[in-house]
Amino acid sequence: MVREVSESCMDSLLTEIVSSYCNRFYANKPELAARRIEAIGYQVGHQLSERYTMERPRFSDHLEAIKFICKDFWSELFKKQIDNLKTNHRGTFVLQDNKFRWLSRMSGDPSMEISGASQDPSAISENKAAQATGMHLYFPCGIIRGALSTLGIPCAVSADISNLPACSFVVRIKV
């Protein structure tokens, strides 16, 4: 039996997690809300990587583990692979997804905030939209960090929105 997850349910759940933590539990402390959302993602990533690596041989180096995240892990989660992987060969990897599924339904374009003058009200609302979008990326960041930590690679993950729905995740491996 193939188990499936409804995509719209997943989208709604993520939106609801973010809005609960940002507007109800930690309304005045966005950093704390971000940390909690990231922690939920961490546990999800931890358990998923445990499952998805069952049938494969052990990874010999970091690059192989990152490739696994880009290909198999991403395909299991989002039915597509990471579009672009860059590295400086010193422990920093940039994973770029040109159409990140959890941002594809998001409206508002955060790249506008740079071009708009900072004084007019539309620019402020754009800035808010960018913040809200950023909040939705703590969960996938946590998933990546959880998956890599479980594979024995402690790291820090941050996300970067260039122009919706593309986004990139920056993985810094701790040495």
Partner: protein, 143 residues
């Protein structure tokens, strides 16, 4: 007959250990499991250059003692499974198959949202499933 099965975490912390025999005291089996951890480390750090199975999860026979054979398995997530058996004539394929079934039982146990990662596995369902697997397996080709 399988006399003991253990799950050991990535910092060599015991996650689950269960013996299936009345004859030997549990402490002796725990000791055997403990000793095998060094062999696992040795296998992982100095892999044999021969063969394509260099990073395989199944580590094979770790070491034989007078009465027992000890087998090991290391997952991608650095969790070790140790199996102690009294059977002398064991086929690798059978052990491999056992570990595969044990691994999926373990996966289901740690995927429980109430399980705290890195803590001992206390799930009754897991214990039952493990004893079912252990009972259903007999390695001896003779019977």
């Amino acid at each position: 007959m399988i006399v003991c099965i253990a799950v050991v975490g990535h910092q060599n912390n015991p996650l689950y250990i269960q013996s299936f025999t009345e004859a030997d005291d549990a402490l002796k089996l725990h000791h055997i499991v403990h000793c095998s951890l060094d062999v696992v480390d040795e296998r992982v750090n100095n892999p044999k250059k021969s063969g394509p199975m260099i990073n395989e999860t199944f580590l094979g026979l770790l070491y034989p003692t007078e009465n027992y054979k000890v087998y090991g398995y290391l997952t991608n997530t650095k969790v070790k499974f140790i199996l102690v058996t009294t059977d002398l004539d064991v086929r690798d394929a059978d052990v491999r198959n056992f570990f595969r079934r044990f691994h999926s039982a373990y996966l289901d146990a740690v995927s429980n949202p109430f399980h705290v990662p890195g803590k001992k596995i206390t799930s009754k369902t897991f214990a039952e499933r493990v004893s079912t697997i252990v009972k259903s397996v007999s390695f001896n080709t003779a019977g």
